[in-house]
Amino acid sequence: MNVVVIRYGAGNIQSVLFALQRIGITPTLSSDPAVIAKADKVIFPGVGEASGTMKELKASGLNNVIKELKQPFLGICLGLQLMCKHSEEGNVDCLGIFDLNVKKFIPADNVKVPHVGWNTIQNLKGPLFNGIPENSFVYYVHSFYAEPGKETAATTNYINPFSASLSKGNFHAVQFHPEKSGTVGESILKNFISL
């Protein structure tokens, strides 16, 4: 199984590599379009700022490469946001794979932003969530979110409902961190790998 994790401007991808190793996968880390195109599975992780990382994706041409991929593809956290149409973070147009906008949480009474910690996922749809019970706990760290829409494959409530996961054809994405979500996260990663 040739699993490629895309290396680009975003930080802290080491934990994704280690999580894949824990489920028996030896991933390849690459920013080379030829290597990415030949992968069986592609993972697009990332923690960082949207407009800066979009700029880096464009500079390297990876923005167009990603949109053309036909194999199973998984965006994580910032990866999910960059796969949407537009992000309020740095007011930037993103890859447009999902027809949704990314917005900033507006703090409510005694509800803090960023959304940090363990929260539940609901309305689970699609292959990533095979065998995952409704209201399972996953780990989040984010200040921006994708609105719910027709491509939403799971939702979470924080201040307002948002897309915990998105899915369209071969493209899948999660806002939470499966690599840090205990055994639930490992099951979701395994589901992706077995697509």
């Binding site: 934990s15 960023p114 940090v116 363990w118 929260n119 706990f137």
Partner: protein
């Protein structure tokens, strides 16, 4: 619903977990990777590892340990102890740490918080504050609680948030080691003045203390060491108790 987090903290010296019984007698209590794995599979929501030796030579030992921990653990973990430069943070994050905590170095050079947040993102920058109540007000202490500063805790916490901290780890020196409960008053003041999560630390002795710090203290997370290391409190039992008090936890 977002849950309150329970965080075991491990002090690390020469690659082992240690726990100070008193200042002269530091006792080894276990292997950091094995203990971390145990906590992760027994309900801990996150882990904290503090390097209490933190000399240049020992830091390399810690760095390779961080890598081993990251390989083994499937929940988030924070590392701290003697971190003072962008290079320190870069090496720890590259080794697989999810967050880093800075303390004295941030007080000495507050701009460091902004530099780290801009480079690595606020989500991984925890500002740790050691605080002590003296004559009715809470002050910030540095260098492992040895040096008093003129900073008032509430002012420093607000400044840390403005500079880009992602979370505050607030340890009350008055309460630490007493097992008489967390410092709910200052924890509440800091938590309600800030928009970022506050982790309360110092004083955990009973399950009621955790309930109190989440309700009265308005903490987003609670950290403890010895009650977990010595199994005086088992996390699954604690979480069941908290849940029965209508405190939202991950079970």
């Amino acid at each position: 619903m977002l849950t309150k987090r329970i965080i075991p903290c491990m002090d690390i010296q020469n690659g082992k977990i240690v726990k100070g019984i008193n200042f002269l007698n530091i006792r080894e209590v276990g292997d950091p990777v094995e203990q971390g794995r145990y906590y992760a599979s027994h309900g801990a929501d996150e882990l904290v590892y503090l390097d209490i030796t933190a000399t240049d030579e020992k830091r390399k030992v810690f760095l390779s340990l961080v890598r081993e921990i990251a390989q083994a653990i499937n929940i988030p973990f924070t590392v701290g102890g003697g971190i003072s430069t962008i290079d320190d943070v870069s090496a720890l994050l590259d080794a697989g740490a999810d967050k880093i905590s800075i303390n004295s170095a941030a007080v000495k050079n507050p701009k460091l918080i902004t530099e780290l947040a801009n480079r690595f993102g606020s989500q991984c920058i925890v500002v740790a504050i050691d605080t002590k109540n003296e004559e009715g007000d809470w002050y910030v202490y540095v260098h492992g609680g040895k040096t008093k500063t003129p900073l008032k805790t509430i002012d420093w916490a607000k400044q840390a948030e403005e500079l880009g901290a992602g979370e505050i780890l607030l340890t009350s020196m008055n309460n630490d080691g007493t097992k008489n409960g967390f410092a709910n008053d200052i924890t509440k003041r800091v938590s309600q003045s800030l928009n970022i999560p506050v982790i309360a630390s110092g004083g955990a002795g009973t399950m009621e203390h955790f309930a109190d710090v989440f309700t009265t203290g308005c903490a987003d997370a609670a950290l403890a060491a010895s009650v977990f290391h010595y199994k005086e409190i088992e996390i699954p039992v604690l979480k069941k108790f908290l849940s029965e008090q209508n405190i939202s936890v991950r079970i």
